[in-house]
């Protein structure tokens, strides 16, 4: 589409306002895919300062925007046309919603007069996305574009972050209007909670003999990493983390016990079951973390700190709720000297008694050891973006993280196909970082087309593809809980991933034996551009420990039944 002739210095198209609004927000990168209804915006984009990354599927755009946001802390932006373009964004938006990631999605829409008529490529994306967005808008007047997009960014980042959708009817994007003044919006303030009780929290902590910090993703999203580390250092209270909370306390911290939950480390789960005070910092008692909720931390009183008041006492009644900003609350929380020497010794013993043994028999590649070694090789800034399945849990259990932005994982939605596009977003947000995507042979195929994006922009993401020719986690569950009835989990007919990557012009090579791992990692990390290391692993390998569904976290399986 060409720019319309009637534009004067005092007038502008709606699409130009969209671009101006993004530039006003400081956006430097947008991820998207063009199509009919969004064409006016793409026309304006071509003349802008914005860097557009053409993914090869809209789901890749949405997840890349998430990866950008998760690693940078800035709002990620994705763009798609109406109908199928918009609907394929939905998984990424749902992923961002469940993990509280600030994303603004801009979708083309059919012209206003055709909305509601089942027009070509029309879908009510406002209605479709209602359950998975923090907020959404349909632009009804071109003059409102600047204000709506500014508000969308504000809402996406305010308080508990999340995705916001802005639907852009095509006629309004092509329409020419007087250039409206830039909107003036107040800075968002973190709203004070109604159930804050600092003194009561300090009393509970002083009275506790076995306090434990339970750290969630809210710590990173709320900019409270420094605050939680200072609190943990000041009080010497041991800590555990959710999948999304990993890295908030460095993995190697002496008082850090690891991830809790279904595939949590044994020391972490046992500490939770033993503690007498659980200090929840930005976590939400997710079922993957708690197991059987009624038997979770059965001896503990609970302090629940969250910027989102609705999370407090949603699933587990809090004895004290501290709403509002996590950092401010953590810095203000001062219980004074604590009598927890015995508890610290007890948790240290748990940690040493249940430390992982990486000495696996045989000559095959042992994935936990490979992942541990990989993370220890990576200097900061580094990012490990993973997909979903067994490898995701091995990354969480065995990689060393020194900051939460280093660990990108689809924690709430569990989106297979997350890893590669999220890594793309992270690498573009931080070109100096070493970004590694750890994937599986099931997950990688969900967004394999994004290898083309790696090649197109020469994005130097390194891929470690752990291939057991199996949907490993499903296979493990079928073996354990469905009498070994393996139903549709055998991926014997996978493509040759090395040849496939090369077809996308991505360097690739194969590792099949344990003694090939070190040279393989050397080669992978030394590659100048994108590269893929295809690793054959044992299809019978399981993720341990495992808390069976509906059971207490105290009932961890550690070996085959």
């Amino acid at each position: 589409m060409t720019a319309q002739a009637a534009i004067t210095p005092q007038t502008v198209r709606g699409a130009d306002l969209v671009v101006a609004a993004l530039e006003a927000q400081g956006v430097d990168t947008v991820f998207g895919y063009p199509g009919g209804a969004i064409m006016p915006v793409y026309d304006a984009l071509a003349h802008s300062s914005l860097r557009h990354i053409l993914t090869r599927h809209e789901q890749g755009a949405a997840i890349a925007a998430e990866g950008y946001a998760r690693s940078s802390g800035r709002v990620g932006v994705c763009l798609a046309t109406s109908g199928p373009g918009a609907t394929t964004l939905v998984t990424g938006l749902a992923d961002a919603f469940l993990d509280s990631v600030p994303v603004v999605a801009l979708t083309g829409q059919v012209p206003s007069a055709l909305m509601g008529t089942d027009a070509f490529q029309e879908v009510d994306i406002f209605g479709v996305t209602l359950p998975v967005v923090k907020h959404s808008f349909v632009v009804r007047r071109t003059e409102d574009v600047l204000d709506i997009i500014a508000e969308a960014f504000e809402i996406a980042a305010d308080g508990r972050p999340g995705p916001v959708l802005v639907d852009l009817p095509k006629d309004l994007m092509a329409a020419i209007v007087e250039h409206p003044p830039a909107p003036v919006r107040p800075q968002p303030a973190i709203r004070a909670g109604a159930c804050s009780d600092m003194a009561a929290a300090e009393t509970l902590i002083r009275e506790a003999r076995k306090p434990l910090l339970y750290i969630g993703g809210g710590v990173q999203m709320g900019g409270a990493v420094r605050a939680v580390r200072a609190f943990a250092q000041r009080t010497q209270i041991p800590s555990v983390a959710t999948l999304k909370g990993l890295g908030a306390i460095p993995t190697d911290d002496a008082n850090f016990l690891g991830m809790l939950g279904m595939h949590g480390l044994k020391a972490a789960n046992l500490a939770v079951q033993t503690c007498d005070l659980l200090i929840n910092v930005g976590a939400r008692f997710d079922d993957r973390a708690t197991g059987h909720l009624e038997s979770f931390a059965p001896h503990a009183r609970v302090i629940h700190m969250d910027v989102d008041t609705a999370e407090i006492s949603k699933l587990r009644r809090a004895d004290v709720g501290l709403s509002g900003g996590l950092a401010a609350n953590l810095f203000a929380l001062d219980p004074g000297p604590l009598d927890i020497t015995d508890w610290r010794a007890e948790t240290a013993t748990l940690k040493s008694e249940h430390a992982w043994d990486y000495a696996a028999p045989g000559t095959g590649v042992y994935a936990p050891k490979l992942l541990k070694d990989l993370s220890e090789r990576l200097d900061e800034p580094m990012v490990i973006s993973c997909d979903v399945g067994q490898h995701q849990m091995w990354v969480a259990q065995h990689c060393r993280f020194r900051r939460p932005q280093s660990h990108l994982s689809s924690s709430g939605l569990g989106t297979m196909g997350f890893g590669l596009p999220a890594a793309i977003g992270a690498q573009l947000a931080d070109p100096d970082a070493t970004v590694v995507c750890v994937s599986g042979d099931g997950s990688i195929m969900m967004n394999i087309q994004e290898l083309a994006t790696l090649n197109r922009y020469q994005i130097p993401v390194k891929i470690v593809l752990l291939d057991n020719s199996m949907l490993g986690m499903v296979r493990q569950w079928q073996d354990l809980f469905f009498d070994g009835n393996r139903s549709e989990v055998d991926l014997w007919d996978n493509p040759d991933f090395v040849e496939l990557a090369r077809a996308f012009r991505v360097e690739a090579f194969r590792v099949e034996r344990r003694d090939e791992v070190d040279p393989g990692l050397d080669r992978l990390l030394a590659a100048q551009g994108p590269a893929l290391m295809h690793v054959k692993i044992d299809p019978a390998e399981n993720v341990w420990p495992l808390v069976p569904p509906g059971r207490s976290n105290a009932q961890m399986l550690e070996d085959a039944l």
């Binding site: 406002f126 209602l130 907020h135 009804r140 809402i155 009624e294 008041t309 609705a310 006492s313 949603k314």
Partner: protein
């Protein structure tokens, strides 16, 4: 029963222990705000028993009154209120518990 002890039986409408709660939602009148609120109520585990939207034009502040019934004993109306308060188009959420009970009786 508290949210973290015991089992969570499903409640059927009209069953003993299942009493409707009336909520008053003051909303901005922005596009979709009523649908957004009603959808949240259902998704968060509540039956929608009755609803009345005060007449008004788009953009006008108005009130949506709903009677809701929890689907199981784990659902707390205070949590639902907070979840509704997160919606950007809602100015205020008030629990009118007594009125609902009176009407149910």
């Amino acid at each position: 029963m508290s949210a973290h002890t015991g089992t969570i039986p499903i409640l059927a409408p009209g069953e003993a222990g299942a009493e409707p709660v009336r909520l008053e939602l003051r909303m901005t009148g922005a596009e979709g705000c009523a649908v957004r609120a009603l959808g949240l109520i259902v998704r968060r585990g509540w039956y929608l028993v009755a609803a009345h939207l005060q007449p008004g034009l788009p953009g006008e502040t108005r009130t949506l009154t709903v009677d809701v019934l929890r689907r199981d004993e784990a659902r707390a109306v205070e949590t639902l209120k907070r979840q509704l308060e997160r919606l950007y188009d809602l100015d205020a959420v008030t629990i009118l518990d007594d009125a609902a009970k009176r009407e149910a009786a």
